[in-house]
């Protein structure tokens, strides 16, 4: 289990959803948390079965909470010689404008697969990012 600290839960959360649209299961090969922590009793998805959707939540660390930054890199291996690294990040750009949430998404080291994303801002300005892994 790659679970987590649950302190600071009042800070703005960031929900990351991943859908495996491939015929093979995807296995979490590596992950790097750049800012924040996995929270709300959620865990990093270590296996995403074919056609399954899973999600987890991140919150900022209290020592850097003025940035409200939460970001992670996830590397998934899916079947033979298919691999991808996903970047998901979110922060509050300006507290004078709490609706100004920035959501960052990028892919790296794509091998025989790709991924698409959709950004959204949920109730109470909670940023969310949905990834779909595809061929």
């Amino acid at each position: 289990m790659l679970s987590n600290l649950t302190y600071g839960e009042s800070l703005i959360p960031f929900t990351i959803k991943i859908t495996n649209g491939l015929p093979n299961d995807c296995i979490l090969k590596d992950h790097t948390i750049l800012y924040g922590h996995v929270s709300d009793h959620s865990t990093l998805p270590t296996i995403i079965h074919s056609n399954e959707t899973t999600n987890f939540t991140m919150r900022p660390d209290p020592d850097l909470q003025h940035f409200q930054e939460k970001s992670i890199l996830l590397t998934y291996a899916c079947g033979s010689s298919q691999e991808i690294t996903l970047y998901a990040g979110a922060n509050t750009v300006s507290f004078a404008n709490p609706e100004a949430q920035y959501i960052g998404a990028k892919t790296f080291y794509e091998q025989n697969m790709t991924a698409t994303y959709e950004k959204s801002v949920r109730l109470w300005n909670h940023p969310a990012l949905s990834w779909t892994l595809t061929n």
Partner: protein
């Protein structure tokens, strides 16, 4: 007479409150727009110089280089290894498309580097420079280091709005028994 004076005072008070509201509103707008009034577009170099010195006693092999914001500038491409005693220097440039906050046109740049240096020695560190609430923040972060001590220095951090030389983040990797 007494009542008209009181009326006048209330009017003054209301006017004063309105002026205060306008000042507060202007202040919030300034924050929201990253204080664009202070911008001199030509005064900020929109690039970051990253230097990495290998003082571990072994050669270091690049395992990962991920620019989550911006990219490594073409003329200074990143080599696959840093020999012992060698210093690398390269430049991070902004992405053309990026909707995150900007300060006077300055865009965020962030690069994660991971090196392995000999047996069981590795280091993963992040160089992150971004405009936030009217300031440029330089955040070097040691993500994970095994048997390597990571040290960093930031050059040109102060006065960065007033001269056009870029922020430089200088990393040194030292060998460590821990």
């Amino acid at each position: 007479m007494e009542s008209s004076c009181a009326f006048l005072d209330i009017n003054k008070l209301i006017t004063g409150v309105n002026v205060l509201k306008k000042i507060l509103f202007a202040g919030f707008m300034c924050l929201a727009s990253n204080c664009m009034a202070f911008c001199d577009q030509n005064a900020i170099a929109d690039s970051v110089i990253v230097q990495v010195t290998n003082a571990t006693g072994s050669d270091c092999v690049l395992e990962k280089a991920i620019a989550t914001y911006g990219h490594i500038s073409e003329p200074t491409l990143l080599p696959d290894a840093i020999l012992n005693g060698q210093t690398l220097s390269f430049t991070l440039k902004p992405d053309s498309e990026q909707s995150s906050s900007t300060l006077c046109g300055y865009k965020r740049k962030a690069l994660l580097l991971a090196y392995s240096c000999g047996e069981n020695r590795s280091a993963k560190f992040l160089t992150d420079v971004w405009p936030f609430q009217g300031m440029l923040d330089v955040l070097p972060r040691n993500i994970r280091a095994e048997k390597i001590h990571l040290d960093f220095k930031i050059h040109n951090e102060s006065g960065r709005y007033k001269n056009n030389s870029p922020v430089t983040v200088q990393w040194t990797l030292f060998g460590s028994s821990l």
